[in-house]
Amino acid sequence: MAYLINQSINRLDRGAFFALGLISLICCSLLGMVIWFLFHESLPVLRGSHAGSFIFDDSWFPLEQRFGVMPMVWASLAIALGATFIATPFGIASAIFLAFYSRGPIKSTFRLLMNILAGVPSVVLGLWGLTELVPIVASIQPPGTSLLTAVLVLSLMILPTVTLTSTAALSAVPPQFLEGAQALGFNQKSVILHIALPAAKAGIISGVLLAIARALGETMVVLMVAGNVVQNPSGLLEPVRALTANIALEMAYAMEDHRASLFFSGLLLTLVVWALAMLSTRFRSLDGRTQ
């Protein structure tokens, strides 16, 4: 039967194959173009005499030919990991609540709220952080724009990512696993802890990695609440500048080596986010295999 259908729509199929293939190729080549473009634009500074300055210079004063990006690399990592550290337990707890404990209107309302939170533009969260959170942190230690503030606002931003992907992973656990466990006399707590979570582990990790990638790439929030001072993150209440914020702050004003070094930090960021996305896909495919 399938063979017959294949025969009759073969021509149509082949047309669709080429058309869809072409469209996919265009999408992929756009990504390729972006990476090539970033690489090409950062070449002058990679080949120039300042290449070593990226790693070995301890500070960033492009007008004085000092291009140390490492403080910003550490700052980006600290912000992203800090936000993930806070968002992960809350996200997984919310996911368990959504998948196992909530029903009816409570479940749909909670899910709706998570979706809305996921859709709040980051500039709005940044504005909220700047006007509400920063003064609170400043009352502990000025200036208030700090690593901690950025971590808090970002964790709110990536919470829905963790929650929604973890809920999806938990819902994808085959019902016979759960039913079997219940039939063996497991209580709800044991079912969740020992059956559902281990079975959904890969999916949850994949979601967390995506959240890290999102936090690393976030620009507006860190630009507004992190303080943007280039220095190694030495304390939670110290201001720091993330790689993304650096690009956004200076790109429009940069020329020559300064500009190329900003493109280089963009390239660096793209590669890290790319690696995280690949790792995330790997974990998700693992999840498929366990089922």
Binding site: P142, P143, V229, A252
Partner: protein, 279 residues
């Protein structure tokens, strides 16, 4: 008429538009000047004024479209030089290595040191400002104020406000020990109005405008000269700068006409509305 507050230079957007048009087989649209279209890019200080001038000019000359985009004085210089823009907006005097361009003065602006309104400090000497910005003085107590940590707000590299500030106080950016670094004037005013111990510097026009709207900031005098639009106009105020339109030596006919308009009495009220000073 539109204004885009974008972080990407015009040429990147041209690249994107071009690649998409090529992909779908369209001819590259000519988005540059073609007799009825003018592109103005550059300083975010000048942009609101240029936008108002452009609106009025468009009303008087139906069919003309003027596109105003921000991105800083360096972008104004770059775009005017490369031809990506017909006119560049530059909030400083031209440098020696920019003599290939012509500056057309449209207004004057001053930079004011600003504090939170609740800060009782009424005056700081130049040396005190330098000491605060270089981190030698870290508490308001040391300059006769309350026992309150100082939050030094500095501008990001490349901004003309930063250059003017550094030049005036004979500092380099690496000597400054900032607590917060900001991009544009608005971010600066938000940061300082939310922090009682903060000190920063922004355009006088913007600061005076915010004060009339009740934003809790105050302007410090420079030496004995009060920070005000009026003092900038009379040339008394030391920390001031010219706002220029820059072009290549031979701008288009439309460009020339718009420049004449922008320097005429027809726009004096617009300059004053933006709290700048007509030359």
């Amino acid at each position: 008429m539109k204004i885009s507050y974008t972080y990407f230079p015009l040429w990147i957007r041209h690249l994107i538009v071009t690649s998409f048009s090529l992909l779908i087989g369209l001819q590259t649209p000519n988005t540059l000047a073609d007799g009825s279209r003018l592109t103005i890019t550059g300083s975010s200080t000048v942009a609101p004024l240029a936008l108002e001038m452009a609106k009025r000019y468009e009303r008087q000359h139906p069919g003309v479209r003027i596109d105003v985009q921000t991105g800083g004085s360096s972008r104004g210089i770059n775009d005017a030089r490369s031809g990506l823009a017909d006119i560049g907006m530059v909030s400083r005097a031209l440098k020696d290595n920019e003599s290939d361009l012509t500056a057309h003065l449209i207004a004057l602006d001053g930079i004011s040191i600003i504090l939170h309104r609740s800060n009782p400090i009424a005056k700081l000497t130049g040396q005190e400002i330098v000491d605060i910005y270089t981190g030698k003085v870290r508490n308001w107590q040391e300059v006769g104020g309350p026992n309150l940590a100082i939050t030094v707000v500095n501008k990001a590299e490349g901004r003309s406000t930063l250059e003017l500030f550094l030049h005036h106080f004979e500092l380099t950016n690496s000597q400054i020990k900032p607590n917060v670094i900001i991009g544009d004037n608005q971010q600066g005013i938000k940061t300082i109005s939310a922090n009682p111990g903060a000190i920063g510097y922004v355009s006088i026009g913007t600061a005076e405008f915010e004060v009339t709207f009740g934003t809790p900031i105050k302007l410090l005098p420079m030496g004995d000269v009060e920070s005000s639009v009026a003092n900038v106009a009379q040339g008394y105020y030391p920390l001031s700068r010219p706002l220029n339109f820059v072009t290549t030596t031979n701008p288009s006919e439309l460009g020339q006409d718009f420049l004449r308009f922008a320097q005429s009495l027809h726009v004096k009220d617009l300059v004053e509305e933006q709290f700048f000073v007509a030359p």
